[in-house]
Symmetry: C2
Subunit: 880 residues, 2 copies
């Protein structure tokens, strides 16, 4: 068994493709050394296999010998020996898993120093440098490997500077440094009960083991869960000969990108510091110089570096970032990897690399280089530098950032906006009563509810940033309080980041999203790739939303929710008259009024989507959503303040009240109990379509019946639809092909898709409800459960964010198979919120869905993800 | 194709087994004629095939000829011709489907009379008799076949009696009758636009077609849906020569049972009338004589009849009822069928027939002769003669009847019972707050909620009669009002029948249930049959319930709900302290108090079930069930009447409030979020078991985790359980094998039963929740939907009453297969309310479940149904 490979080892495959074995860092170090023959300090990689063996059964018996063997090679190559009191070899030890992962062990530098070898280092350099290196190593190793709290070291350093009367470390004398070295060693012995290990081989083994252990640190575990990285990969460990950028003024260190990671523009870009170590660049204590400054101070190294950067980019065919060090005018490459980039840069680079003659990415490759978050970044505002406190972290419910004054009531939020204020609406949860407040506000924050709660769905629909289910906040009538007692009163500033779920107290600067020209080019390529394979439609309820969706590339509407048309303030009274009607005549009169307004709504939507399919879902929510809350009414009643008609409203609210409205009188059930409603909606829709035809339009209409559980429901309502369509067409002597389909959103409908398909031209999977019922999770109540479950690892994903493939997904799969067995031409779509989630899109593509439908602002992401799914680049499987 | 068979036709199989073809009535007429050669008036049966053909494509072309052929045979046999003006053949026409079915066409008698043949009949008998028969025929045919409203005939008869100055029909003169005949014919012509058909063959065809059509009458359809009789069977039609029990005083008619249908005692039993037709016996206008009276007035006929009855019972091997007529001292058997009987009679007859030397039923046959309703009848009180108005019909939620004064509040109900009143508790719906009221009342009535609503489940658990979801009633704070405006105020009498769902205004006499000795014998046989195949346990939460369940034959507890132990008035404050606890110390203190009381509860349960398994479900319901309602608290607050601590309670109620508690923080989720709770419960249980061991008991303990969706939840909680078990056993140096299993009640758990079985010793299907989630029906809100759906035929069953086999059932089936694939020894039970439903029990048996568990009073029914399921006698398949 080979547990260890030198960087120069000739692997049978390109080392950069061996990340699973060598980790990302090790793979790239080997690539640079063995393939590109770049100047990399020599070293070796202890593989992830060794880590996995360690986790399974402890330190492998033969690992010591292999490490020893490589250390000897390294000593021979460098001409120095580990622990040599005269001229010691020093090494760095760094973790490196296949995926970059916070929470893994930090780098340990200068390993190999001890009370004797520090003298040898001093002899070869100078005493101050050697002692400073030694005290840094003691603190680093003590903290990272031996778990000695870092404050002990910091405190002693502060004391030393105070005693010496100096401001910076650099001003400490050799004596002071020697004193610190002694103090640090005493501290380690006091804390660990053993003296600091003087044997470099023991130091090395300790560091390697600490790296292995850090794979299982809570932070790393949490990160893997969040990023859906498997838990059993393990990490590699890289041991590399030290070079010193802080040896003298002919030394230095820096970070270089092959292109600008913020803008994507071509040409090397980076930071540089003279006489410094890498951590100094990262720590930001000293002000760095731009990379170009090297051209003056280190012209040869600069020429060599730019040459290497070009070579690396051409070799890797992507923008890279690198760490480098100059020791005594000699350039060393310490690390390279694919560079992180902003959304705008990602788009520009992907397109530019297709034109670069040395690289010539093809379009499929370019499409795979852009991530969904990149598109969100260019479409939505982002927070700039945050200098105010974090109040809470909730669910990242709708991407982008919003900054405004907190208002705790929808009406007051609207008034504030009318006064010209910027507003974030803050509510425990939202209901249809708050919709005008959401419309007016720049963003929404709720303390309850999951990713498909009302607030989240509405906010995403309108592209408003939102953080939902921030459970640690107590939201009151006119203030909120954090769990640590910080209060934000109405009118005070808050900032929310809907992409990360973070909530800040105070005003953070906001950078508006900017869409570069490459956005359209790249999404055009994505469309070519997915064309005929996986369509993308939008969920849109109004002409404005439909037009926006079309602009963003939607190929139709997959879900036009008709209830939102009922919630308009002007219409609510008519809806209430219909609900309160005590005789059929009154009810008919109210329905006739609604017919007028719905027809107008449909006309706008059909006009915006002219020539593209519009799938209209007949009324779905329980009627009590259109009535005021019982709690408010009984309070008014108890105070003797019930207004005229309040008694009737209260009676109606009680009559329609349900214990579990999600499982109640909604969807097709409502259509069947209030049986004039669906006919009215279909009439409005078909009349609108006929009017559009009269204006030269080409309306394409599909009617969708929600919440079906069996065939008889669909048979009955389909018959109503067809009768009404026929009647309207006959009245106007018009022709129109209206498809009738159903949502598959109850587990029973999925199981019995074979029979249901007999009456359906299409299925649309309502995966929100299907998730609610399959897992027994109410979208409105799930937040505190999810929080705890994700924390404990009982769930690996939020199933409302990414579809639970092995539970809900099996039902989708069954329904696809059974539905198509009955009706091979059955058209299959997805209109739940999963329709905009990349890993869910990959799943839907794999089971044979024809299109996904998502909120308008999510359409670009879905187009990209659909293309990537077609290319076989799904995210890692999601599973509950 | 043979559409028609004479009664004397020699079929290749016993005609009584040809009910599907001949209908029940026709099959038995043929059996009596062709096999037993009993004196049956000759006739023929038009088959159900003819009816099906008629429904599919209209009147079969060759049916007329076949009927003609049989009429000619009949004429030849009787020596009379249809329509003969001199001596006409008259026939009766009766429907007869395979299942007896209300809503089918009534009998038409004396068909063949017309203006000419009535003279011939007069000549052979007397004029008054002939004219009276003719006017009866005109009215009957007019109403039944020609759809002329019956009031027209009644009105004219009343007018005739008034004009003649007489009180009864029998006093009308021939002239008056002739006048009525003329008036009836004019009425028919006015209503139908055509004269009354004089051609007897046209009369016959019309009557046959009317029978065919009546198969599709709304009442028949509704009945079939309710009784789960397939819709496409069709009905047969029986045409039989008339004999006249009303010809003279040497004629008569009667109904005879081979045994007493009320008590089951041996010997013929029945009613008899001299000079009368069958309808006179049924109508109850004249007072009938007991059958024995025939021995004096018609000794020869009586001897013949008793001989025939004995022969019939021995032939059919069951108690029968028969209609017979005597014409001029000659006995004719008009009909026979298996006799309806009371529960007590069913039990006695089934056992007696095993001992009858002519019959010798075996035990399996005897078990199959008793129906679940029969057991309910002997176990629960029944309403006697009802002379008060029907107020409403709700769901038959818990069998038996209750009569008492209506109380609309649980506290007031308790007070009334303490004053010595009999009480029916009436609520819109019940919650845990009402439990003491249910305990005190004789019965429960709610206007909302389905068959697994709180009221229904609690009432069934205690064997209290209940009617739930009587949607047409408006239940207020101290009165109820029917949809027709009848008001019942608090303290007024009402009577409810929990077996039929009927609610009456006023006091109805109540007959207590009486359990005959044969009950134990028969259920003993049932137990022998199902032994080792399908066990029966009970759902019981207290020692008292457990003891009762054991008495009724339960073989253990399949579901011991621990939340009911928390709802006791004395304990609620402790539970609330636990919920309100702001620090872990307070919470621990409350849990420690709960530990004491739970341990005592468990000791009682384990003692009552000593030696039998007790499956304890850890806490399941959302915590807010233990808190007062927000609505009540905000009203108090608005009035300034919030008591001490009310503010905290309101805050807590708001904190724990959920939009859809059924899909919220309950079951294992609650256990995980409040993580001391489950450990406390397990400790209480194991300590109780150890104490029982100390007293020489043999406790058998199983711990069940509710609402699981995946393996990690079960792994974690199973580990807690095992740690706590080990700790308690170590403390007491005791040994106890505790099985740990889970409920399968979410669709996901069923789908992923393979993985979940890795950590489960047993599964128990919670089919209530599984039904809620698979169909998206909230048990508390489903009543108005179900009502409409059953009415429209969109559902054929209430899926909370009988399991939806093709939806929920598929999930159960999948889970059985997948669970056993992982763990072949997996024990499988059912503890939802379906565990007591016979057709569901048959389904569970068919998919390989090991036991069902139901409420204690349902245990006998489940034992019987389980045995019948093992014998392969399931009910017709239930399906949504």
């Amino acid at each position: 068994m080979n547990w260890v490979y030198g960087f120069a080892h000739r692997h049978s495959r390109a080392p950069k493709d061996l990340k699973a074995l060598l980790g990302g860092k090790g793979a790239n170090l080997a690539e640079m050394t063995s393939v590109l023959a770049l100047p990399v300090p020599p070293g070796f990689t202890i593989t992830t296999e060794a880590c996995r063996a360690f986790m399974a059964t402890g330190w492998p018996g033969d690992l010591d010998a292999e490490i020893d063997h490589h250390i000897v090679s390294l000593e021979r190559f460098m001409g120095r020996r580990l622990g040599d009191p005269a001229d010691p070899l020093l090494v760095s030890v760094r973790s490196g898993a296949a995926f970059s992962m916070p929470g893994m062990m930090d780098t340990v530098l200068d390993l190999g120093l001890n009370d004797a070898s520090v003298r040898g280092l001093a002899a070869g350099t100078d005493e101050r440098f050697a002692l400073d290196s030694y005290r840094r190593f003691l603190a680093m190793y003590g903290r990272i490997v031996l778990d000695v709290p870092g404050e002990g070291f910091d405190q002693r350093l502060e004391d030393a500077k105070r005693e010496a009367g100096v401001a910076t470390d650099a001003e400490l004398s050799s004596d002071a440094l020697q004193h610190l070295v002694d103090e640090y060693q005493a501290l380690v012995e006091a804390e660990t009960g053993a003296p600091f290990p003087q044997d470099p081989r023991q130091q090395l083994k300790g560091a390697v083991e600490a790296v292995f252990r850090s794979w299982r640190s809570p932070r790393a575990q949490a990160y893997r869960r969040r990023e859906r990285i498997p838990d059993d990969l393990g990490t590699a460990v890289n041991v590399q000969a030290m070079v010193f950028g802080n040896r003298d003024d002919r030394s230095g260190t820096g970070v270089a990108f092959t292109r600008n990671p913020s803008t994507g523009s071509a040409g090397a870009y980076g930071d540089f510091l003279v006489n410094a170590q890498g951590e100094d660049v990262v720590a930001g204590i000293r002000t760095t110089l731009p990379l170009e400054a090297m051209a003056d101070s280190f012209p040869a190294c600069y020429t060599e570096l730019t040459f290497i950067l070009e070579r690396l980019e051409a070799h890797y065919r992507d923008m890279l970032d690198c760490e480098f060090t100059i020791e005594h005018d000699r350039l060393w490459m310490l690390q390279t990897r694919v560079g992180k980039r902003t959304g705008a840069a990602a788009l520009r680079i992907a397109v530019a690399l297709t034109e670069d003659p040395k690289i010539r990415l093809n379009r499929a490759e370019a499409v795979q280089r852009v991530r969904p978050e990149h598109l969100d970044q260019v479409l939505h505002p982002q927070l700039g530098d945050v200098k105010v406190p974090l109040l809470a972290t909730g669910l990242a419910a709708s991407p982008g950032a919003a900054v405004g004054r907190a208002y705790f009531d929808a009406d007051r939020a609207v008034e504030a906006v009318q006064r010209g204020e910027r507003v974030v609406l803050v509510r425990p949860e939202t209901s249809p009563d708050d919709v005008h407040g959401i419309a007016a506000a720049d963003g929404v924050l709720t303390s309850r509810g999951g990713l498909v709660s009302h607030a989240a769905v509405v906010a995403r629909g309108w592209g408003k940033p939102a953080v939902c289910g921030a459970e640690s906040l107590s939201v009151r009538a006119d203030s909120l309080e954090t769990d640590s007692g910080v209060v934000v009163a109405e009118g005070e500033w808050i900032s929310i980041d809907g992409s990360s779920g973070r909530v800040y107290g105070g005003e953070v600067a906001l950078a508006e999203g900017h869409v570069p020209a490459e956005f359209a080019i790249l999404l055009g390529w994505a469309d070519e790739i997915r064309s005929g394979r996986l369509g993308v439609r939008a969920n849109a309820d109004t002409g404005v939303d439909a037009a926006r969706a079309r602009e963003l590339g939607a190929e139709g509407i997959g879900l036009c929710r008709t209830e939102h048309m009922f919630l308009d303030e002007a219409r609510l009274p008519i809806v209430r008259r219909m609900i309160l009607a005590t005789d059929p005549h009154e009810e008919q009169a109210a329905l006739a009024e609604l017919l007028e307004v719905q027809r107008a709504d449909f006309e706008e939507v059909l006009e915006a989507m002219d020539g593209l399919p519009v799938t209209v879902r007949l009324l779905d929510p329980p009627l009590h959503e259109f009535l005021p809350s019982i709690e408010e009414l009984v309070v008014l009643e108890a105070r003797g303040q019930l207004p005229d008609g309040g008694r009737e409203l209260l009676d109606a609210a009680r009559h329609w009240q349900e214990q579990n409205p999600m499982l109640g009188l909604r969807g097709v059930r409502l259509g069947i109990v209030k049986d004039g409603l669906y006919r009215m909606q279909v009439r409005a829709l078909v009349e609108a379509a006929v009017r559009r035809q009269g204006q030269g339009g080409r309306p394409v209409v599909e009617v969708m019946i929600p919440l079906v559980i069996n065939l008889p429901e669909l048979d009955l309502t389909r018959q109503w639809v067809q009768e009404e369509v026929a009647a309207v067409l006959a009245e106007h002597d018009a022709r129109l092909d209206v498809k009738v389909g159903t949502m598959i959103e109850t587990p029973r409908a999925a199981l019995r898709a074979d029979e249901i398909a007999e009456a359906a031209d299409f299925f649309s999977f309502g995966t929100n409800d299907l998730t609610q019922m399959t897992l027994g999770f109410s979208r409105d109540d799930v937040a505190p459960i999810l929080e705890r479950y994700l924390e404990l690892g009982l769930l690996s994903i939020d199933p409302f964010e990414s579809i639970d493939q092995s539970g809900v997904g099996e039902l989708v799969h069954l329904a696809v198979e059974r539905g198509r067995a009955t009706r091979p031409t059955l058209k299959l779509g997805v209109c739940g919120e999963h329709g905009g989630d990349p890993s869910s899109i990959a799943f839907f593509q794999s089971v044979g869905v024809d299109y996904v439908s998502c909120s308008p602002f999510r359409v670009p992401v879905a187009r990209l993800a659909a293309a990537q799914a077609v290319l076989g680049q799904g995210g890692p499987g999601a599973d509950v």
